[in-house]
């Protein structure tokens, strides 16, 4: 790479405006439910065919970086995650918004996203071959264990009651497997709806469990029935800007959280089929585990900015990490990298082990665009956060009306099916009931998202072990994951107990 540095650096400098455009488009696209990275890449794909190959790929990579932060904005401000991994950010970001700290939450997300992307970009440039080799150590039993680890941990920490959390996670695992069985093509639990044969679509589930349930809550509050109507504090422009900067400072003062989450994101991103959802949930769980004290741990779920630092930096790091196996092995780790693989192939690149040897400049220019996009994200993201933070000043009825119409349009836009919109309302009702009864919808959502990963890797693992489930408990990496999972369960439970004891004593 060093030999080609004289070519790569000028190439990146010339394409600086394109990187800025890519980041800006990404931020906007990420903020819209249903318009994730894959959709936007597909929409832009025909335009890039007329561009120079390096410029096109640099633009697409910058868009990748912007999308991640964009997904955090609606998650924080109106509890409608733009992407599935934004659901973790909503866990802490939305409670902060309710407390009038939406600007600060956006600032935390912005700094964490930029640092996560910057650091993981550098990691990808320097350690691409090594990461790709390490990722190959993860077979089906390890990915199965890792996915279960995520679900169990989210179940434990998302709500007040871990058994209810695990129940919601298990329900998600069942609902996520609805559709045609991947092994034998048998139809399962679809009520005969042909629209469900492909499985439960994630976007309507996400829109329902978060957005529709939220507007139902708002309706219940606004009619003066239960709870308290959220008071809106009018903030001056300078105060909003100060809030964002304060949030960015908060994130910068948490280097341990940032580094840990970036490392988790980079590694998980490199695992084919694992994806940003696992990375976000896992690093969020690690942030809970590594709480400095019981008081900090008790704040999780109620608006702890450390949760946003963890989820956002891991989510962004995951994006860069996912590029590594795609570029060096030709294995896309997510649907958006699969689209990127398609774009690269359409531009005549031979993606796979020989990419870095045959197209050194293009490959490293793509990875080099990540840290530059991260720096630009700081400025463009600040402007976007500043505009978006004014959303917190809008009264609740207007917010509810806007969420209802736009979120349902988002549910429709994923597959252009009205069925999905009805499905979103059904999930909304379920989410509303679950919230009322203390079952965390986040645990169900992660179950739905990871069910295909769990199911596929469970049966691949069983086949690898000639029908014996022992394979899940005998391979060293799998054993390490189970041990860490058990230790985390015990550790978090103990910490919660200590916090409860202290609370009782204080009373």
């Amino acid at each position: 790479m060093l030999a080609n540095l004289s070519e790569i650096l000028p190439l990146l400098l010339i394409n600086l405006p394109l990187i800025a455009i890519g980041v800006a488009i990404g931020v906007v696209a990420g903020a819209l439910p249903g318009f994730g990275a894959s959709n936007t890449l597909i929409i832009l794909f025909p335009l890039t065919l007329h561009m120079d190959v390096n410029a096109a790929l640099i633009l697409m990579t910058a868009l990748f970086v912007g999308v991640r932060f964009g997904g955090a904005m609606p998650a924080i401000l109106i509890n409608v995650p733009g992407t599935a991994s934004g659901a973790v950010t909503a866990l802490e970001g939305f409670p902060m918004s309710k407390l009038g700290l939406g600007g600060m939450a956006l600032g935390v997300a912005l700094a964490a996203s930029a640092i996560g992307s910057f650091a993981s970009g550098l990691i990808a440039i320097t350690a691409a071959p090594a990461i790709a080799r390490a990722a190959l150590e993860f077979g089906a039993p390890e990915i199965f264990a890792l996915a279960l680890f995520s679900i169990v941990m989210v179940g434990q920490i998302a709500g007040e009651d871990r058994i209810k959390g695990w129940f919601a996670g298990a329900a998600g695992l069942l609902i996520g497997s609805v559709g045609v069985d991947p092994m034998w093509g048998t139809e399962r639990g679809t009520f005969g709806f042909i629209e469900l044969f492909d499985g439960i679509p994630v976007i309507p589930a996400l829109v329902g469990l978060y957005a529709v349930a939220e507007v139902m809550e708002i309706a219940q509050r606004q009619r003066g029935d239960i709870g308290h109507v959220v008071a809106i504090t009018k903030l001056a422009i300078s105060e909003r800007a100060r809030g964002i900067l304060e949030g960015a400072r908060f994130a910068l003062k948490r280097p341990a959280d940032l580094l840990r989450s970036t490392a988790i994101g980079s590694l998980i991103g490199a695992l084919p089929g694992a994806g940003a959802n696992i990375a976000s949930f896992l690093s969020y769980q690690q942030a809970v585990t590594f709480s400095p004290d019981a008081e900090d741990q008790a704040k999780f779920g109620k608006g702890n900015p450390r949760g946003i630092v963890a989820s956002e930096s891991a989510d962004n790091a995951c994006a860069s990490g996912a590029l590594v196996p795609m570029m060096s092995l030709g294995i896309p780790g997510s649907s958006s990298t699969a689209v990127l693989l398609l774009v690269m192939t359409a531009h005549g690149l031979n993606v796979g082990p020989r990419l870095f040897a045959e197209h050194t400049v293009t490959a490293y220019a793509m990875l080099g665009a990540i840290p530059i996009a991260a720096i630009l994200l700081l400025f463009l993201g600040f402007a976007a956060s500043f505009v978006a933070s004014s959303l917190t000043q809008i009264p609740q009825p207007i917010i509810a009306a806007v969420i209802a119409v736009f979120a349902l349009a988002g549910a429709y836009a994923a597959r252009y099916l009205m069925f999905d919109v009805y499905l979103a309302v059904a999930f909304g009702c379920l989410g509303y009931i679950m919230r009322r009864e203390g079952y965390p919808p986040q645990a169900m959502l992660i179950g739905i998202i990871l069910a295909p990963v769990v199911e596929a890797n469970f049966f691949i693992g069983l086949r690898q072990g000639f029908g014996s489930p022992a394979i899940f408990f005998t391979r060293p990496v799998a054993i390490a994951i189970w041990v860490v999972m058990l230790a985390s369960i015990v550790y978090i439970a103990r910490k919660k107990k200590v916090a409860q004891l202290r609370d009782t004593e204080a009373r």
């Binding site: 695990w166 129940f167 069942l174 639990g189 207007i398 009306a401 119409v405 349009a409």
Partner: protein
């Protein structure tokens, strides 16, 4: 409508009943199919059953927050009534979606915005009219013009 007192959260609730009901339907759907198909459903059902049993056992042991089973059934209508605002809102959303397929996205949205704003007591009539016009224009500009989402159109536009 009666003002509602927030009761203690139900320890068991209706969520496990809904989930287990669906689980039974799912299992009946895969009954008699190959091992892998049945196996995954059975695995999920076992986990759900064990966790539901744990929740039920705990609910019974702790007296389900002071509510016995008979009282629980008897109070369901009151609980449903107490959540009527949310239920009406969900019903309105279903009606909105159905309305889209009848008169198109834009017209249905033009109706649903004032309806939501009135229902949620968003302000005086002129304010509601102004807000509805503004939000409908925003939805048209953003979803139909800029993003070009192929949302349902009214019969006279097709």
């Amino acid at each position: 409508m009666q003002p509602v007192k927030e009761t203690k959260p139900t320890r068991f609730g209706i969520t496990p009943i809904l989930v287990l009901g669906y689980c039974l339907y799912y299992l009946s759907d895969v009954l008699g199919s190959r091992f892998e198909t049945q196996g995954y459903g059975a695995l999920c059902a076992t986990i759900l059953g064990v966790l539901a049993a744990a929740l039920a056992f705990r609910a019974l042991r702790k007296g389900n927050a002071g509510v016995d089973l008979r009282t629980w059934f008897r109070t369901r209508s009151t609980v449903l009534w107490s959540h009527s605002s949310a239920i009406i809102f969900a019903g309105a959303l279903v009606f909105y979606i159905w309305g889209q397929s009848q008169i198109g996205f834009l017209w249905a949205t033009a109706v649903v915005f004032p309806a939501i704003l009135i229902f949620l007591r968003a302000g005086t009539p002129p304010r509601i009219i102004l807000l509805s016009l503004l939000l409908t224009a925003l939805a048209w500009l953003f979803l139909l013009e800029l993003l070009n989402v192929p949302l349902p159109r009214s019969p006279w536009e097709r």
